[in-house]
Each structure stands twice: as structure tokens, then as C-alpha cells.
């Protein structure tokens, strides 16, 4: 038993708010690739270095240059978009063994289209990185076989939609592993809407009355 990992304690540790995903710590994902951060400039190359010890041989500036630009420096929108997309794609690749390859390709295409700034209106903002981290953690928990339609809120939070117009759920993936959901369903011929807001880790609990599997997997008939 010595040195063994007791998973109950690990689960409790990981489900403790505010994070359920390792890279949801804002300080640890400043730039493209989320590689290192400014407080940890000595970090070596690594896409998930919040969890990987530094090694002196890879200290020399590698993490520093890979981590992008300090947030305090004003940057052109194009650079912000590059930064956000790079971060999202690398985070996705890191858990790529758990997401079908064809979905990854589609997902990257969706993210690129959402960030086509030539189509943007004044005031549109790039996706918030922390929002995407929440999205990934939910996808890994729910593992939907139906791929969602994606959008961006005015704050830069990712929106995911499953279902048909008369029976649809929209999730807004917010930083700090929180979710907001809106459900549009039909009852006695009337369109009924409901909404809620909760930690992402409690999603299944709060959605249980709605039988969410029929959105994620289109398996259950209603």
C-alpha cells in the first residue's frame, strides 16, 4: 500500500472548486500553448507545465518565449486570436487520445471559423481560454457522441448547442469550471424554456430530470 494513490481522495481533491481541470488556473496558461507562465519563467518546454517540474537544461528562455506575451501588454487583436487558438488546440491535443480524431479536426475548424475576425462586428472578443478549458472538462466527463454546434457569447465564453429547435440545450462554458444552461423544450404543444447555472462537475446532477443523454447521444426517444 505504501506509495499507492487512494483515488477517493484524489477525486475529492480534483472536484474541489474552483477548478476541475488542471489548466483552468489562469496563471498557468498565459500564452500560446499554455506553456509555462511568467511567474515560472524558468520552466522548460512543456505544454502542460503547471504539472511538470522544471529541468535546468531546458530552462534557458524556452518556457519564457513559448508562453507568449504578458497580459498587461496591449496586443493587436490578431495576436490575441493566435494566442487563444494556439492554446485551445494544444490543450485539445493533450487529451487527444480521449477525443476522436475526426472530431478534433472538426473542432479546430469550428474554432477557426468562430475567430475569423473579418466576419466580426465591433466589440467582438476572442474566446476566453478558461471557457475552453471548462468546455474540454465537460466533454471529457460527458463524452457526447453528438458533436455540438459552437458559438461565442459577447464575453468570449464558448457556447455549445445540442438538439433540435423544439428540444435543445445550450451550454455556456464559463471560467472557473462553471456552466450556464438554457433548455428549450415542448410540452403540450407549448415551447417551454428553463435555465440554470452551476459548477460543471454538477452538470449531470442538475440535468438529470431532463434525461440529457438524449441530447448527448440521441439514443433515448422522448
Amino acid at each position: 500500500m505504501s506509495g499507492s494513490v487512494l483515488l477517493k481522495q484524489v477525486r475529492e481533491a480534483i472536484l474541489a472548486p474552483p477548478t476541475i481541470f488542471p489548466w483552468s488556473d489562469d496563471k498557468a496558461s498565459i500564452g500560446p500553448g499554455g506553456i509555462a507562465n511568467l511567474e515560472l519563467q524558468q520552466m522548460p518546454v512543456g505544454f502542460n507545465l503547471a504539472h511538470i517540474p522544471a529541468t535546468p537544461h531546458f530552462q534557458s528562455g524556452v518556457g519564457q518565449f513559448a508562453c507568449g506575451t504578458p497580459k498587461s501588454i496591449a496586443r493587436p487583436l490578431e495576436e490575441e486570436v493566435y494566442d487563444v487558438l494556439a492554446d485551445a488546440k494544444i490543450k485539445t491535443r493533450l487529451i487527444g487520445n480521449h477525443i476522436p480524431r475526426d472530431w478534433q479536426v472538426r473542432l479546430f475548424g469550428q474554432l477557426d471559423r468562430l475567430h475569423d475576425i473579418e466576419e466580426w462586428e465591433l466589440g467582438d472578443r476572442p474566446m476566453r481560454k478558461e471557457s475552453y478549458h471548462t468546455f474540454l472538462s465537460v466533454i471529457l466527463s460527458v463524452r457526447p457522441s453528438v458533436r455540438p454546434g459552437l458559438g461565442l457569447s459577447h464575453k468570449g465564453d464558448l457556447l455549445g448547442t445540442w438538439g433540435e429547435p423544439h428540444d435543445r440545450i445550450t451550454l455556456e462554458f464559463m471560467p472557473s469550471a462553471r456552466l450556464r444552461w438554457t433548455i428549450a423544450s415542448t410540452s403540450d404543444g407549448q415551447l417551454v424554456r428553463s435555465a440554470g447555472d452551476a459548477p460543471a462537475s454538477d452538470l449531470e446532477k442538475y440535468l438529470a430530470p431532463f434525461d440529457p443523454a438524449h441530447w448527448w447521444h440521441r439514443s433515448a426517444e422522448r
Partner: protein, 252 residues
């Protein structure tokens, strides 16, 4: 010189490598003009890119009065990428870093990139003496969280040894430094538990190799290639020594 050699290397269908990196580090700094030229030379291979400001801190102390003044200026580094962040290149004032994110495409493809990028770097005019050639492979082994307790020692032969009285651990991290005298190189291994786990429903173990040479660093392309092949062989040999059959089952 062949890159594959098709030696007796164990291959896996789902390699646990989350990141592979080769770094060529110069003994001195590349000037801004040349670095910008290098960046342009890579634009075809790596179409996406961004400039990363690197602050330089200068401190001047007057020998006579002891008065000190300081100033800050910026120089640039460059980060380039291709294929949706699968291929990444860091063009730094003192180094070139070729990085590969997951999924790992295999040594042959990665090595082809490394050779190509090294050649372009040099053809662009970087002829400074190399002070270190290094390689880093970060592995993450995802273990399904189906038992109440998981013993990392069942998966890695490099883990935590602790008195029984302490009971199960929540997490740990180990770091070992080893001399590879035959290669005049140094190896650093990190292993431990990712906490929190990156994938819900799994416990993830880290196995991270940082291997490199700083003594009598090869300078010619053939010698560099030869060293990289040797480092990779050694890294693979040690990987196989550390992982158990139970771990192999997870990614073969």
C-alpha cells in the same frame, strides 16, 4: 545517414507522448537582424506565427562611485506553428526549439522535421557554436480509475517509496538526475501523479525525460544527427526499463 535504422525499438499504437522536443542551444546570442531573417525563412514551413517580446535587463555599476543604474529593453523571439499546433518552432535569441505536440507522429517524421529545421536555421546564417543539444520527451500514462486504490509502482519502476504507516498517498513527484557517461550526456527523469488528473475518470502518471549533452558538443550536421539518434536510443531503452507490462497494456 539513416534516421530510422529500424532497430529493435518497441512501438506503440497509442504512444503516451504528449510532447517531444529537440533544442539546439548556442553559446552566444543571435543578433536581432539575423533572428528576424531566420523567422522569415521558416514562414513557408510554419505559416502561423507570433512575435514574443523578451525583456532584457541591463545593470550598470560605476566602479568609482559604486552608483548603479538599470534599464530595460526588449528584443524579440518568434513562435511559429503548423498543422493546427501539431508542429511548433521556437526561434529564440540563443536557441532553436523544434517541438511536437500530441499525437506523436513517430520518430521518423519528427526527426525529419528536426533535420530540416536545423538545416534551414544554419543556411539562414546561424553559425554560432552550439553549447548544448538536448531532447525532451514528456509522457502521460492515463490509468482508468476503476479501482479504489492504484499503486503507481504497478506501472512505473520509478515511483515513491514511503513507510507503510503513512498509508496511501494523494500525489507525489520524484526527480532523478543521471550521468550517461558513454554519451557524455546527462539525463533527468521526472515522474509523479498529475493532480488534478487531466482526464476525468483516469489517474494520470507523468514520465518525463530530459536528456542532453553539454560537453564536447558536436558541431557538424552529421555529428549532430548521430548524437540525436544515440540520445533517442538511450531514452527509449530507459523508458522500457521504467515502464511495466501493465503500463504497456494501456498504450500498445
Amino acid at each position: 545517414m539513416g534516421s530510422s535504422l529500424s532497430e529493435n525499438v518497441q512501438t506503440y499504437s497509442r504512444p503516451p507522448i504528449t510532447e517531444a522536443v529537440v533544442e539546439f542551444r548556442c553559446k552566444t546570442i543571435i543578433n536581432d537582424g539575423l533572428l528576424s531573417k531566420v523567422n522569415k525563412r521558416f514562414a513557408g514551413t510554419y505559416p502561423s506565427g507570433t512575435t514574443v517580446p523578451v525583456p532584457k535587463f541591463h545593470v550598470h555599476v560605476d566602479n568609482r562611485t559604486g552608483a548603479a543604474t538599470s534599464s530595460v529593453s526588449n528584443t524579440n523571439a518568434y513562435r511559429r506553428s503548423a498543422h493546427d499546433e501539431h508542429d511548433i518552432l521556437l526561434i529564440n535569441p540563443n536557441s532553436l526549439v523544434v517541438a511536437q505536440s500530441a499525437p506523436y507522429p513517430g520518430w521518423d517524421k519528427f526527426f525529419e522535421r528536426v533535420r530540416h529545421d536545423l538545416r534551414i536555421w544554419r543556411e539562414a546564417g546561424v553559425t554560432l557554436e552550439l553549447g548544448r543539444i538536448g531532447m525532451r520527451y514528456i509522457n502521460r500514462i492515463d490509468i482508468p480509475d476503476t479501482a479504489p486504490v492504484i499503486n503507481p509502482a504497478d506501472y512505473l519502476k520509478m515511483s515513491l517509496a514511503a513507510p507503510e504507516e503513512l498509508g496511501p498517498t494523494i500525489s507525489y513527484a520524484t526527480n532523478g538526475n543521471f550521468a550517461l557517461s558513454d554519451l557524455q550526456s546527462n539525463l533527468q527523469i521526472n515522474s509523479g501523479v498529475f493532480l488534478p488528473p487531466p482526464v476525468p475518470g483516469y489517474l494520470s502518471l507523468l514520465l518525463d525525460f530530459d536528456i542532453g549533452r553539454e560537453l564536447e558538443v558536436p558541431q557538424s550536421e552529421d555529428d549532430i544527427i548521430s548524437l540525436l539518434i544515440s540520445l533517442r536510443h538511450e531514452k527509449n531503452r530507459i523508458f522500457e526499463l521504467i515502464v511495466t507490462d501493465k503500463a504497456r497494456e494501456l498504450f500498445k
